[in-house]
Symmetry: D3
Subunit: 313 residues, 6 copies
């Protein structure tokens, strides 16, 4: 399983394993049913079709299945498609490693935990340190496994913690250049800003929005969590609590992006910028990796649908 | 103190008492200092100037003072102004009633409490009833005294509870016409929607925004309070809690008005409309009261700066 | 014909009658022509395909035909589709009732007429009463049969009059709570606000926009009609006429929704809200009827593309 | 009265006559009343102050008065102001000509009428010609006297007819270059587009909005008038009527400028452009006349608040 | 080759020649590859499909090929499609004229050059004349051959020069009506405004955006060119240069259309309008040509997606 | 001259020197002229009034004068104002240092030049290095002296170079964290992005917009300069030139901020963020310096009019 689907050329034939991300059923012009299955490995996703599908096939090719396929890469209207020759469900003998199908952060959960913990331990303000530590500890497992989003940026296993890790390093650089920044406030803001995603999202793979996520959103969810934690820690009503709640509430930077308050504290404004830069660098790097110098990328929806140029320099 | 400032005609002379709402100092073209004081009685506010002011006068004419004035009503560029003849601080002998200076709801605190309580007691869903009761009881004193806003609508003593009372009656009418509405959810949403204002605002008179109000806003404040209350009542994680948090988060109806979520539940959508109708009727009635049939009102800022017409029908 | 298409389960087979709402022709990958026909019964619409279609078939399966079909319900990419086994045009022997294919208001034309007439007869202002009566009488037949729109809300037979009926009841509730409202003006505004739709739309079924509808719009059409009626009734230039024209012109509430004037009269503002609430309740109820508690509806285009949640309470 | 106020230099002293356009009263820091009067001659307007004003003076210096003043031109914060030395009401002996105070179109009413009539008479479509002629004849007096607006462009006596005259000449040029344009439709659209202003505005001088103007607007007013005229002429329901109503309804070109319909006919689109070009040229010429080459004009509100440059070429 | 594809009726069979504008490959439900080829003649474009395509066919049916086809016109979901019976690459014997496949301006390159040159030669300002002449001469070949855009308006051979020619005639008409306009500035602005398109676009046929075009845009490209030309002609720093650069920079009229400056000179404002009118007349005429009186056109994307009506007058 | 105006308390009396930044004339209610002069020292600006001003005084108190004043600090409606006791023009004996009146960057011109030069010298791409060096050398004097803007941020002597210096250090940090960034492109973009301001603005003090600045803007001015420089250096048409022109054109990030192109290259996107962060930190630091912990700042216009909170942490 060394070679991934996005490393093949159009026209190339191959035999490999995939995780079935989703399945939809249709009726072809010959009146027979067919399945469109979205297959996933670490490099990305690809669609394939199973024609003249039987009731038994419908039963086994479902979201979450792992399959072995023989196929060929096609280009259908500028979009890659897998033309299947053979497909079957894996057996124990295939010895596939479930983890091989999911993209994950370049750092391990342990490394990410160590990195984030170091920033917490160095905080000088006792209340901020305790509050941050309490909430990270409470959700530690999910915090280290969840993606940062269902799509667009850092949508891979441990994407949330990796995004936080990169933002902390960026925040540290900026705080060193602008000494008026309160590092404790900024770092706690970074660590907590997306923590509500462990409730908003369903899990590390095949990630969807939960009912709570849809109705309340990660921004309000973490503000509420901070409120609860403050009571538990006996620091309810302290300015530190209000300040951190303000940072998480305002970190989307604009009302139309779902922040009920605009940033009104210097560190809140900076947090918004750091979040943006890290998310955009992640999207840009991935879009640009797939094109050659002198070419333009596909349009990137979350970057105002722009198509970026990769200079030949 | 029967006749109020907005009942006088331009040019009319009178002697009466006022509450000093705010004071600012300036320097006149004759190089001498003067004070602009905003005087308030139940009918509204009016500006007056104290020229050639002495240090002693500056000391006594401050926000919160109560004064006796002799003056005459002027029209200065379309705006009423009070031309002072005499002014002095009241003494015990004046026997003024502090309450006479502040507009207040047409119903007493007791009546408002009784009205709201009845809706709570009739709720059939135990969790919703307990949660609503818990939060109203916790903040009962402020809830019955605070205005609904610092300006625009229901900005008078008990304005918050009166606004809720009117919305409940309107909500009841609508729920009777559209039977698919869940009354418990709608009534609880109405009762709680602005409860965060008891933290966002500073008090019943000379009302300002608190630091918490500025940084978090009443929408997030009440969502957090509901979260805390749910823990206290042992119903954390129940759908009732999420639903009520959604109603309060979405009740402004649009991102640009500070709601981090749009209404996604039928009762949330209706709550938003009921809030709007009651607030607008309050603004419209007051603006139209001050003009004659056949005239247009002053522009009303919170109604998109429109100037409304009072038909001669 | 008791069971409707939206009451079947995916996979269920059935034999029933449909009205052919529209037909489009295509060429399949086997180079043969096929028809996509949209079939309609009271519960909604469903697409089906007739493959390898002959010239004779093309001739008979047209908009407005009524057909008997044997088929099975499929789910094609999340959208229901009817897989045809057999189809034929109905004969006299089938004894179908044309009315059975069209959704209609829950009240009969007679009931709606009676309800609306009662509000008119109770008006105290003679000019308003006469004007309203004149226009309703002039267009009585269409007024009682037309839908309120081609899609989105009240898009069924008698939808227009039913929408008016519900708005009148809502308006009455609100006017009782806010006594400063002029009931004659509000009720006349409600009754006339969408009357221009009898000219804007083509008819009660297979409804389209007319040329006049496209070029002038129902808002201007009714304003013009009121102008003509005023002349006919000899009340041209009276304030009642201007006020009612203002109410219909401004009832969409915003320039971008096609109102050339914003509401500048209290009853105009209220009319806009009542129209919105009734239209939205109608859309919400229908979207929510099709999902189970704990589920989200399909996105509703006319409600800002939101997907609503049906609580499990 | 040959020299006008805008021809004087700052610091220059002069004796001349003015029309009093408006008056407001204030109270000075010495506690005495003063009047701010806006004086007008053909070249523009200027403010002056009458200090320590007596009750008698208040009585005579009112809107519509004509005064003789001796004064000096001052520059107050970049705005011209007249410093009064003497002021008195004119007497019969002064022999002032009322018309001298009002800017008017460069063509006489007779010339304008002749120009517009020629375009009407040359129309080939009988229905369009009759409809246009009927409405111009009905409002002939006001049509030839009214301004095109209360401010911004063509806000002078006969401004409405002059604006139409210029637009007709521009329309003729364009129609000659793009022969697919229907000249009858375009010319009738030009002649009628602002005719509703004779009802929307109060008169040729000291022009204000009427109640009907505020509530209905000139766009709907003329659409209604066309509807009435069509009945009177027995051409109700003809496509010519609908087309002309569409042209006037859509001539502002955008919803947010008060058009309930966007232009959907070629001549409607062109009408919108012609209206814009003529209005903007009028505003630009007047703003640029007041500055020297190499300078920027004052900001022009109706041109998106831009400040225009007058090149030294 | 006299009859063009847009002159055939649906269902009509014909044999003709086409230019292959673009080709995409797909996989059909029978698992075989097919090509979708866009064929072009002077009247427009049409899609066709080659089923069960061989590797050799893929090799020869490429963008830029010229083919002879036998086929039949179909209507597929409201869109015309060509059903191929036979197709082959043309040979020398077919004697096709390459130019026959491309729409072109109604005037020849020589006529356009003569028209534009006359306007340049009549300029009185030496610097403006030299600058304009220098840039037109430098890019003369491309200027006379390029389209004005890749789609929407004047997207045919010599479309750029034809658009300029029409704008010059329109500009001349307007300047004659408003004598304050500086003709030299306006004409030079018209001639230069889109000259950057010779760098922004790839060529007269199968036109695409170049990398420079994507990254800099024709607006900045021509501003830079004027800067370079000014140095070459020794008139760097002259006001004429700045004024012309301003005209080209601001000619889109709004920031959101890519103009970094709004028009701040009278001729810049007029240039923007002239550009708009000519582009819109071109789009309107073509959309309306394809429908009958009494019908609405297809939606025109570049005209705010409006669907225009062709009156029956 | 050690104590600056913003270090005094309200009510404090002092004798000091100021630079006269601007002067406007008015007429007081006593009919006499007065001057409002804006006085400036390094700490900021303050207004004062000279009453009953003589013609001689008007002549000497002009923009650019240096004065000695005796006065007292007042608070006029929340705004500081200087009440003058005495004022006179300085003489040689006063020995004022002109530089003392102007705020300047915390680094000297020499330090800034050295910092920027180091980044240029380290560039590896020869063409980028030469182009950057050429343009910095050409405008070296102004580049090191000019402010970065007339107001809002870095509006002090050497503000432009200091802003570039800070952005370079921030860019270096970010490029170290995201190694895919091309440092040469980013650094050259930072150094050149605002270079057009040396033409757009009038000079280091009393800074205004030039005619070229108003008509073309610094964004287009520097794009044109790069074009000219490329010709001079013989690298016209090279991708490096296009890329740098793209970076400067797109650095405002949005059309509505005057960028004719959105960022389409990774380094362009990052440049936009770096520019924003440094400008905002500069504005935030200055606004927050003037308030105490626990207070809100004045509204900052260029930060969406927000009022920021200074936490008590």
């Amino acid at each position: 399983m060394s070679k991934k689907v996005y490393e093949y050329e159009v026209g190339e034939k191959f035999i490999t394993f995939f995780y079935v991300k989703s399945v939809t059923k249709g009726v072809a012009s010959n009146q027979k049913s067919f399945l469109t299955i979205t297959l996933q490995d670490q490099s990305g996703e690809i669609d394939a079709k199973i024609w003249d599908v039987t009731a038994e096939q419908e039963e086994i090719y479902k979201e979450g299945a792992v399959v072995k396929v023989e196929g060929e890469l096609h280009d259908y209207r500028g979009r890659l498609q897998l033309k299947l020759k053979q497909i079957r469900i894996v057996t124990e003998n295939d010895e596939v490693n479930f983890d091989d199908f999911f993209a994950r952060a370049p750092l391990s959960k342990e490394e990410l935990f160590e990195s984030i913990t170091k920033y917490i331990n160095n905080m000088k303000n006792e209340k901020i340190r305790k509050l941050t530590d309490f909430l990270v500890s409470k959700h530690q497992k999910e915090y280290l496994e969840y993606p940062a989003a269902t799509k667009n940026h850092h949508e891979f296993v441990s994407g949330l913690a990796y995004h936080v890790h990169c933002m902390l390093r960026l925040g540290e650089s900026i705080a060193n250049l602008y000494p008026s920044i309160n590092k404790d406030v900024l770092y706690a803001g970074i660590i907590l800003h997306d923590l509500g995603k462990v409730t908003e999202l369903s899990g590390p793979v095949s990630t969807k929005y939960t009912v709570e996520g849809n109705l309340l959103g990660h921004i309000s969810l973490i503000a509420i969590e901070i409120g609860n934690a403050a009571i538990e820690l006996g620091i309810e009503g302290e300015e530190e609590v209000t300040v951190l709640q303000h940072l998480v509430l305002s970190h989307h930077g604009k009302y139309e992006y779902g922040s009920p308050k605009l940033p009104l504290i210097k560190e809140a404004e900076i947090l918004h910028y750091i979040d943006n830069i890290d998310a955009k660098m992640n999207m840009l790097d991935r879009a640009l990796e797939r094109v050659e110098p002198g070419e333009f990328t596909e349009r990137v929806f979350a970057l105002e649908n722009r198509s970026f140029y990769k200079p030949k320099l």
